[in-house]
């Protein structure tokens, strides 16, 4: 009996000690941390932030973000847009090989966007492609998209987490999300690296795809290591186990700056942080009240306080990272100024009550600030409360766990004022976030109804000529700086820390930079 138990225990120990023993090539290897096991399908509803990085390497889109953030060719060598902006023709690159050797063709594009545009599939990022009505295969290397309305930003969206997936790998699969062998183990892409070894919970090693259409990559492999803890990531960057990281907590950046073997740099992002006033509440939607709120907040102090200075005060929605479209000179800005805030509130008819809180027609200027309990939002909410109280606005806190925040407040649009942020593609088109048609079901969180803004947003999508678009978006930026569909807080800097042995990482957001891994090299 005892020997049998002992044997059983030994067998168990052996089983647990064992595990995958297949070796992946070492040598010229880059290691990057991700927070959880990835899903190797950019359209899978479960493909969140942990999957973005590997998928940008494994797959190619029709376009990709250029180094100047204008859309650049990728699987599509070039594209033409019809005069009315409704027909887009993509001329595909020839002799592109999938990781399994099969040739990439227009059928793969049609297959991919067939899934994306099927509302029953609930594909990740599908909202960006709602304008696509039909996908036509013209010939093996030409594909045509027919749109319902003109959408110039499509060129950008087609290059952002929009990898083309191979039709032949999904042959006979009724539900592409249930194709575990592809989505969770061995995906097939066209990218510079392909999956070599995957150990769930530990790491995935991508190895060089020698037939990559932009030439043989210089690195041998890129490993994505599952390491959710931010402090552990920093420790491992210092010890050399990781080659580069994105620093989440700005105050940790200082610790890395003193090291000679690590280069810390910042890149301005297109992300922006905001407060959204619920525009269905007329007493809050009053533009004077919104402007007063902007004047009442000391954004500079907040940025220096909990972002260690790693952000830029936002003057609008379009980030300076989009240098071609961003305009600062002609737009209204809001320097911290309590006197102006009080004056605007007085003009709007709000008078201090006995307790110091402003009142008008028997209503107190008082609201709940809804925010997710992640990142630095607790501090943000506490400071906003103080700043607003100083001008007579009373704020109560409604902080929620992220999941609840989204499903109980954001999606049903149940809030007075909400704090949040958007991570957006590198395009000035904020139709999804500001146009009134997206108020109930899209991303127009503040439920902003502005007709003039709607008109300009439609015009901005209608033309594919960047110069023409820039003119339209300049008007729009002036308008939304006055009208404040969102109350702009800041554009955060992305902080990346890179081992100096690694070179060739372009100075654009790191997510986008992973679409250039074939140019990276190690010394």
């Amino acid at each position: 009996m005892r020997t049998r138990v002992l044997l059983l225990v030994l067998a168990l120990v052996a089983a647990t000690l064992g595990g995958s023993a297949a070796a992946a090539p070492a040598g010229n290897a880059v290691v990057y941390p991700i927070v959880a096991d990835p899903t190797f399908n950019p359209w899978h509803p479960r493909a969140f932030v942990e999957s973005i990085f590997p998928n940008r390497v494994i797959y190619n889109g029709l376009t990709k973000p250029g180094k100047n953030l204008q859309p650049a060719p990728d699987l599509a060598e070039r594209w033409e847009v019809s005069r009315d902006g409704l027909t887009w023709t993509f001329f595909l690159r020839r002799n592109v090989r999938w990781h399994d050797g099969t040739e990439f063709t227009a059928d793969d594009v049609k297959f991919t966007y067939g899934i994306v545009t099927d509302p029953k599939m609930g594909a990740q990022g599908a909202a960006n492609f709602r304008v696509i009505k039909e996908i036509q295969v013209v010939d093996k290397y030409t594909v045509r998209f027919i749109l319902t309305t003109p959408a110039a930003s499509l060129a950008t969206f087609l290059g952002t987490n929009a990898g083309i997936i191979p039709k032949h790998a999904f042959e006979g699969m009724a539900d592409p999300w249930a194709h575990d062998a592809f989505n969770k183990r061995q995906p097939i892409g066209t990218g510079a690296f392909k999956v070599g070894q995957y150990v769930p919970g530990s790491h995935v090693t991508l190895v060089r795809h020698d037939q990559y259409f932009l030439g043989r990559p210089q690195l041998d492999s890129i490993t994505f290591k599952v390491l959710p803890d931010a402090n552990a990531q920093i420790a491992q960057l210092i010890s050399g186990d990781l080659t580069l990281i994105m620093v989440d907590n700005p105050s940790s950046a200082r610790a890395l700056q003193s090291r000679s073997d690590i280069a810390v740099s910042t890149v301005l992002q297109t992300n922006f942080y905001w407060l959204a006033v619920n525009h269905t509440l007329p007493w809050l939607a009053d533009v004077r009240v919104k402007q007063a709120m902007m004047y009442a907040i000391d954004r500079k102090a907040m940025i220096n306080g909990f972002l260690a200075g790693y952000a830029r005060e936002a003057t609008g929605i379009i980030s300076p990272a989009l240098s071609f479209y961003y305009r600062s000179g002609s737009v209204k800005t809001y320097e911290f100024d309590r006197a102006k805030a009080r004056q605007l509130l007085a003009e709007a008819g709000w008078r201090p009550g006995p307790d110091g809180i402003l009142t008008k027609d028997g209503r107190q200027l008082k609201f709940a600030l809804t925010y997710p309990r992640v990142q630095f939002f607790e501090q943000l909410a506490a400071l906003i409360q103080q700043y607003f109280r100083a001008v007579g606005i009373e704020v109560t806190h409604d902080g929620l766990e992220f999941n609840q925040f989204v499903s109980q407040r954001l999606l049903p649009r149940r809030y007075e004022v909400m704090a949040g942020w958007w991570i957006t593609p590198s395009d000035p088109d904020f139709f999804n976030h500001v146009h009134s048609s997206n108020a109930e079901r899209g991303f127009n969180i503040p439920l902003y109804p502005g007709k003039e803004s709607d008109r300009l947003l439609e015009e901005g999508r209608a033309s594919s000529d960047p110069a023409q678009r820039a003119r339209v978006y300049e008007q729009w930026q002036r308008l939304v700086a006055e009208e404040l569909p969102y109350l702009y807080l800041w554009w955060p800097f992305e902080i990346r820390a890179i081992n100096r042995r690694l070179s060739g990482v372009p100075a654009i957001g790191l997510r986008d930079a992973f679409q250039y891994t074939h140019e990276w090299s190690l010394r």
Binding site: V13, A15, T16, L17, G18, G19, S20, A21, A23, A24, P25, A26, V31, A36, D37, H44, R46, F48, P119, K120, G122, A123, A126, A127, A178, D180, N183, K184, V199, P200, G201, S202, H203, T205, K225, V226, L227, P228, D229, N231, A232, A235, Q236, I238, S239, D241, E401, F402, N403, Q404, V406, S407, Q408, L410, L411, G420, E440, R441, G442, F443
Partner: protein, 315 residues
């Protein structure tokens, strides 16, 4: 004895059923929804599509009934969020957790029991005082702090030990490599488990040493060694076994903080992320595994009492 075990196993089924129903109801009624339906980018259409695909449009009792039936047949369903079979996902994580938990437990037992016995036999000595002090330090140290300090010292400064994962990436499997990766996380886990064992061994030993049969043994003229290990030790083990019985289910459930910091692919991270992501089938799977661990450990502990102390009878 057989009747007792059979009775206990029947009881276990009932417990499992109650635990399942309660967990299912709690997670289903918790505010929020599966992570794939609750991102800021999810549109109403997408939410609707997922609700239908996941069967969430059906009433709670129907879903619970379906889950119970399929689970009874051994099918735990598929994860809401990544769509894979629950057993496959758990199967990837459980061995890593058993290895880490087992190593931590073995280390705690190997060090804690002798140290506790020594503490008891040398009560109020300098040794006893320092061990007591260290125990309190060990119980009080937060795991996240200790883990980072160990990494900074042994991985960053001295470069003796690997800072994360279960194996060197790219290298083939080797026992020594696995053992090196195991040291730091196991030490962090053992730092809280060991003092408990030590303190319980100490007090149990002290109690036994003051009992009549020990005095009799001494009066018979047995050597102190014989008295200690032949008579007192085995009798002092009952409370120790009880503590071990409490530690094991905790180790099976995984240690979230230690796993996150050391990138250890265990159950703790899975349990937390599935709860946060409202991944009902996965939460249920993890719950069943932990519930089974509790039930089986309790049964084993109860049986061990009888082996340790033949006066204990099972009826």
């Amino acid at each position: 004895m057989t009747a007792y075990v059979a009775h206990r196993l029947l009881h276990a089924l009932l417990v499992l059923f109650v635990v399942s129903v309660l967990t299912f109801a709690l997670v289903s009624l918790a505010p929020g929804g599966p992570a794939i339906m609750a991102t800021m980018e999810t549109t109403l259409e997408q939410r609707e599509a997922h609700r239908v695909r996941l069967g969430l449009d059906r009433p709670l009792h129907v879903r619970l009934g379906k889950w119970l039936l399929s689970t009874a047949r051994g099918d735990f369903g598929r994860s809401f969020n990544d769509g894979r079979p629950v057993l496959e996902v758990i199967g990837e994580r459980l061995p890593a957790t058993l290895l880490l938990g087992g190593a931590a437990l073995a280390a705690s037992l190997a060090a804690g029991i002798p140290a506790g016995v020594l503490s008891a036999t040398h009560r109020y000595s300098t040794y006893d005082h320092s061990v007591t002090f260290l125990s309190f330090v060990g119980v009080s140290i937060p795991a996240f702090w200790l883990a980072i300090m160990l990494i900074l010292l042994f991985s960053v400064e001295l470069r003796w030990l690997p800072g994360s994962g279960m194996a060197t990436i790219g290298a083939g499997f080797s026992l020594s490599d696995r053992a090196l990766h195991l040291i730091m996380p196991a030490v962090v886990l053992a730092t809280t488990a060991l003092p408990q064992l030590l303190r319980f061994t100490r007090s149990a030993m002290l109690e036994v040493l003051s009992q009549d049969f020990v005095r009799t043994a001494r009066a018979k003229g047995l050597s102190p060694r014989r008295v200690l290990y032949g008579h007192a030790f085995r009798n002092s083990l009952i409370p120790v076994v009880t503590v071990v019985g409490l530690l094991i289910p905790r180790l099976v459930g995984g240690a979230v903080i230690t796993e996150s910091i050391f990138g250890w692919p265990g159950m703790g991270q899975l349990a937390v992320s599935s709860a946060i992501g409202r991944d009902l089938p996965l939460v249920m799977g993890v719950t069943i595994v932990v519930a089974l661990a509790v039930i089986l450990t309790n049964l084993t502990v109860d049986l061990a009492y009888g082996w340790l102390d033949p006066r204990v009878r099972y009826e």
